[in-house]
Symmetry: C3
Subunit: 405 residues, 3 copies
Amino acid sequence: MTSAPIDAGTSYTRKPSTHIAALTEVGRGKPMGELLRRYWHPIGLVGDAGATPKAVRVLGEDLILFRDGRGKAGLVEAHCCHRGTTLYYGRVEERGIRCCYHGWLFDTQGHCLEQPCEPENGLKRDRVRQPWYPVQELYGLIFAYMGPPEKKPVLPRYECLERLEPDEMVEADDSSIGSGGGTIVPCNWLQHYENIPDAFHVPILHGAFSGVQFVAQMGIMPKVKWEYSPIGVKTISARVLDDGRVHYRVTEAALPTLRVVPNPRVERYVGVESLGWTLPIDDTHFRIYVAGRVNAKGDLGRKRSRMNGKLWDELTPEEHQQFPGDWEAQVGQGPIACHSDEHLATSDQGVVMLRRMLQRQLEAVAAGGDPAGVSFDPATPPVVFEAGNYIMQRNDAKAVELLDA
Amino acid sequence: MTSAPIDAGTSYTRKPSTHIAALTEVGRGKPMGELLRRYWHPIGLVGDAGATPKAVRVLGEDLILFRDGRGKAGLVEAHCCHRGTTLYYGRVEERGIRCCYHGWLFDTQGHCLEQPCEPENGLKRDRVRQPWYPVQELYGLIFAYMGPPEKKPVLPRYECLERLEPDEMVEADDSSIGSGGGTIVPCNWLQHYENIPDAFHVPILHGAFSGVQFVAQMGIMPKVKWEYSPIGVKTISARVLDDGRVHYRVTEAALPTLRVVPNPRVERYVGVESLGWTLPIDDTHFRIYVAGRVNAKGDLGRKRSRMNGKLWDELTPEEHQQFPGDWEAQVGQGPIACHSDEHLATSDQGVVMLRRMLQRQLEAVAAGGDPAGVSFDPATPPVVFEAGNYIMQRNDAKAVELLDA
Amino acid sequence: MTSAPIDAGTSYTRKPSTHIAALTEVGRGKPMGELLRRYWHPIGLVGDAGATPKAVRVLGEDLILFRDGRGKAGLVEAHCCHRGTTLYYGRVEERGIRCCYHGWLFDTQGHCLEQPCEPENGLKRDRVRQPWYPVQELYGLIFAYMGPPEKKPVLPRYECLERLEPDEMVEADDSSIGSGGGTIVPCNWLQHYENIPDAFHVPILHGAFSGVQFVAQMGIMPKVKWEYSPIGVKTISARVLDDGRVHYRVTEAALPTLRVVPNPRVERYVGVESLGWTLPIDDTHFRIYVAGRVNAKGDLGRKRSRMNGKLWDELTPEEHQQFPGDWEAQVGQGPIACHSDEHLATSDQGVVMLRRMLQRQLEAVAAGGDPAGVSFDPATPPVVFEAGNYIMQRNDAKAVELLDA
């Protein structure tokens, strides 16, 4: 009888898996839920608010979006404050939305205007209020503020969506461009948000692994550094091109959930042309709203990635397995990634910095303060991002600093 | 910098939602579960008990209904008391139902008659008993009593189903007529039961909102009063018709779950012609059994509501949203309505009274007594309801009392 | 007024149902989970390990099976130890499997061979290990050991699969032959394992109830006795045939989950020709892998049972109800059978003995010992089973002992 060596590192010795609840869970009262509720979030396209009530789910809350006959958008709790029937079956009228069950009419701020089954249309109707959230429209999107009323900041504007060339317009899109897959993505929002400073997955996942998903030059292994911006984390990568010049790319993950990602197809060397908002639907689903400068309606949609030459929806299960993209990589981390099982390396520095930045905001809120990036001053100028695709000579100071570090 | 007013009444300040468990949850050992188990409930049509075992789910319990070869209906726990295989796969024989796995044979009262794999067919077979429930057949329905054996009341009879005209017959229906939708309704039974004394949803939901779902005169806003009956809550509504006469309508919600609802299509002015039993399948599903006097087989089924001219099954999702009926209003309250979010008004007095009446029964049972409407005397006369559609002159005393109150 | 007798034995008086967790639940850390983890289990066919990662679920754990370019099979935890993306989307290479997200390459023992985004391909890559399990290939199957490394036994061999006639070969099958149904069976594994010593269900379920599912002689009510074997429970049954001879049949349930069941179609009187392993997928699903001696490829698959003349997949819902087989009987016990509701009889002695045998192993492991049937000696000879279909005269000593007991 010989004695076999004892196996090391088997899965039997693995500890139970857990996720970092404080960074991922978005319900009201949860640390991240409260942090995210200090910001405005896009919850629909301008056209989603109309005469037909639309059900939307945001941060784990079920809400109804509509636009009254006077043109004002409203976002209210789904269940009527009277007897709980969903206002999804309500009727939109000149002054608000009316519940189908007993006809109570609410305006966009939840004021009860009519109680038709009550004497004199409701002598005490002022005492009830349909829970509602304030909304504002900008860049083709409807933004909602779901946090403490006394902490409502001004809705930020962004320079990259404000300074348009004569032939440009701003277009909005709700199909989760940038997710790598369909509109509703079945995993935690942080898995996507962390992907933004994860510069190194680009040459692997989008280059070597599944073939060229963007353009060939993005498959070049870059030199990368990360820096904190005032409202997030900047990822700066440099690639030496065949002609000796340097593709200098800056990507930003900005508070609260912003994707500030220059065109990965690098059609021209300019500052970032679109913004994406990673909207947590609940703890295990997210979607992305995008607004961007385009030359023609529909341009944003034309920028979707292809794998094996096909759009994501067109792939067979076998092709999804063979040609994974962002959707497969992120959803493949599970409904909520098990952070306790991770082994982060130097190339994950951007992810680490993003988590630290979020952690600092959680601490600021817990201490009674305001998180970064909120302003209460209507005169606040538009946010300026450094993000973009830039081209420079190899001996440019910036290129030298990064490539020769 | 200007200071915006702080938003009031937003959803952020909402308290966590809860339901009244004591009034809604129907499992064994729960307050309402025990109250409901003091009464007989219909659990199938007479024809459902036959030579093929039928799976039924009632008050959260999975049961098997069959009829032995001698014609006796049996209702037994689904899982065989021997090794737990479901008797759904059993075989119905002359003397009972036989489990497929090892052939134990049980009669309709759960006595074990044969254990074919045991010596002498089971020397100790008298020591086992398949859990069963007593059943009785009446009005085309099979009623079961699922409560404490020593508290089993007599099966009530109802005058409105006993006194037939020469051309009338009693028909039973299991398709949940009155639910506004399909056979199995995915919400708590109380949402439906409370709809009975909710007189004011009729002119809104069934009149103004989705078009005329019954007949035009039901869309007239009524004067309404509520009264306790010995076994429930009566809703009395009066509508002044175009010809000056008064449509005087009495609806009753009676213990345990009875819909005593006159024909909402008001084809004639008579006492109530049918009864419905709101059967809780479990906490989040219910169905309705109906028995009624008809002139021809199938008449009950012809009384289903139409929305936008279509039967509920025929509506598109868009039409369900545009033309909601009882199903949409009640299912739209959620799997179990969040009572903590409600704001009841004077027009909800019937709902309030129904809940109080149920609460009193819970208290009676908790105190060791019997709830209202149970009798242990086989000579108990049939229950008489006041419910009906009646026509009267405007100066009739009853009309005056209600309309001029 | 007459007083009715009070009903006895109704379902109202039933106690809450529970299952024996220690015997059924298979997760890591659970008593049975730990016991099962002391043995090798088949987790795929040899051909399942290939160039395309295959997702397998065993004992509640999600794993990825593959075969590297050198021909070595690997079984690793599904989620990459770097950032958690599933290796289902990985790429199989010469030396191992590479994660799609950042390209970490792992060999079949989880060693990290490359970290392409890290300096020098990962200076600290030796510090990480993808959780893995050792595998071995035998009889056309891939066996995994998922227990404590220091307790890894030798992979057992079985005489019945080793001693082949000249015209015989060993074939493996993964379609859950013996389950009576489809490949993935939606109930706890013990319900199937206990079926093996349950000799008496054969003449009922497979004979009298649904017609002849195997052959007519198996419908004869046998005399049965049970004996402990060193690694399980033997079931010995004798049937007197029409010609006066005796069909003497020995079936064994062997540790850990082995079905040692002679051909129920009794095509010849020989020792057992195939083995089945009841693999727990998780607490509420199992599947069966089979290896057997055959004369031609595909012979195993040709041995599937027919009910009403049809394969299980071909039956209508009505036929499943009318012609139940093992699948219906066992799945019909529920996701996990409610042992507290059982009433075991003398014919269940085999089931009782199997549970006691398992209980003894749980105690042995809890006491720090080794369960029966594990060996650490590579020179351990193949396991010999007594199982088989045998024919003998009525006056044969063995027949006399059993039939005249």
